[in-house]
């Protein structure tokens, strides 16, 4: 059974997802010791060439698969420490991963998820066909909102599609077809599951699909580990071989109030600009 990691990256005007995917791909390949495939689009790949990271990308990725750029374009306010801006993001084609992955067992990760441990390797040979992270775990511990846990005020638990592992078979194909259906009928599902549909969220589509798929129940087990997350107001202080130091923002003052040394732990970094700023330190290792 061929195992591998898949990362999606479609650049927006504001965020260099191509660069973050090379960083994320490098760390996944190094620490999980499996090949990594990038799914991107022509303009993002051309940007890699222009920004002189294409050679590094070729060293990191086993395959670079070019697909049509998704038509859905969301925007949201993204912080970078105390600064913020409204940025577009294009990520509505994750449900295509089943068709696009070259692997029998795939771990799909976000390009802002950095792997520094082998923990996810323990799930490759699991008999469970589909595993998603059931929750986000805040790095500081006290900055989780209601809608980080639930799809809506009256809704179902929110899964985090930051990490998804699946075996390519007819059962998981049905799951990803269902995610695709939910995406196409997002407005309808927002009425049924009572969430705001102003932006498209993969996490919500995956959560609804999982809810339906599991017989309208929340199954308490057979998950990937919770996604340890640094908020977008947090800043990466420094990178070293086995981890990161991160400045954590205070939920009240919003300024950096403490620092943590995160050694040998996988981390979801919502502050993309912070990844871009330290990327040179990581690219030097490729």
């Amino acid at each position: 059974m061929k195992k591998g990691v898949v990362i999606f990256a479609h650049n927006s005007r504001e965020v260099d997802y191509a660069l973050t995917s090379v960083v994320s791909g490098f760390l996944a390949k190094k620490n999980l010791e499996v090949p990594v495939t990038l799914i991107s689009d022509t303009s993002t790949v051309e940007w890699m060439d222009k920004s002189n990271i294409y050679d590094k990308a070729l060293r990191v990725f086993e395959n670079i698969i070019e697909v049509d750029r998704p038509v859905y374009e969301n925007s949201r306010v993204l912080h970078d420490g105390i600064n913020s801006k409204t940025v577009p993001f294009i990520n509505a084609n994750r449900s295509d991963v089943w068709k696009l992955t070259p692997y029998d067992r795939t771990l799909m990760i976000d390009s802002d998820f950095l792997i520094f441990s082998k923990e996810l390797s323990e799930f490759w040979d699991s008999d469970v066909d589909l595993m998603i992270s059931p929750a986000m775990r805040d790095l500081r511990g006290d900055r989780i909102g209601y809608h980080d846990i639930w799809v809506s005020d009256e809704g179902i638990p929110l899964y985090w599609a930051t990490t998804v592992m699946f075996t390519k078979n007819s059962k998981t194909r049905l799951f990803f077809d269902l995610v695709s259906f939910i995406k196409k009928n997002y407005s309808l599902f927002s009425e049924i599951y009572r969430f705001r549909n102003t932006i498209y969220r993969n996490d919500i589509s995956f959560s609804i699909a999982k809810h339906i798929f599991d017989g309208y129940e929340f199954i308490q087990n057979n998950h990937l580990p919770e996604v340890l997350t640094a908020q977008d107001k947090d800043l990466i202080h420094s990178f070293y071989d086995s981890g990161l130091r991160i400045l954590l923002s205070d939920p009240i003052s919003e300024s950096a109030s403490s620092i943590v040394n995160l050694k040998g732990r996988d981390i979801h970094l919502m502050n993309k600009e912070s990844i871009v700023r330290i990327s040179q330190d990581i690219l030097e290792k490729i």
Binding site: S117, E122, D127, V128, P225, R245, S258, N261, R265
Partner: protein, 116 residues
Amino acid sequence: MDEILKKALDFSQYNQTLNLQRKLLKEKLDSTLTYGHGGGVFKIDRSLIVFVQMLIDRDRKNKIPLIDANNNPIMIDDLEKFRDEIFDRYFSATLEYLSEYEKIKKSRTVEKLVDL
């Protein structure tokens, strides 16, 4: 008074960092003790180790079903091999935990706590 307040706030910041580092260290231990075997995922802890050793002591060594962390029954073909693997993982993880815990316990500044 200002000096007392400054010292108190500095100490508070130190303690906040210390508590976070301790929490992260424990979470790292838990993640290292996640162990995939035979299609199941186990959490290595003292009760699993003792239970496995008890089975071996009673000469139950091959084709033994164990319940994994997800409550799935998993057939363990060679329980002695399984025992050796979880022993190794448990001791290397707890030794690393001890070593890093001792290091932060001795660190008296925020800089030392985060290895700067």
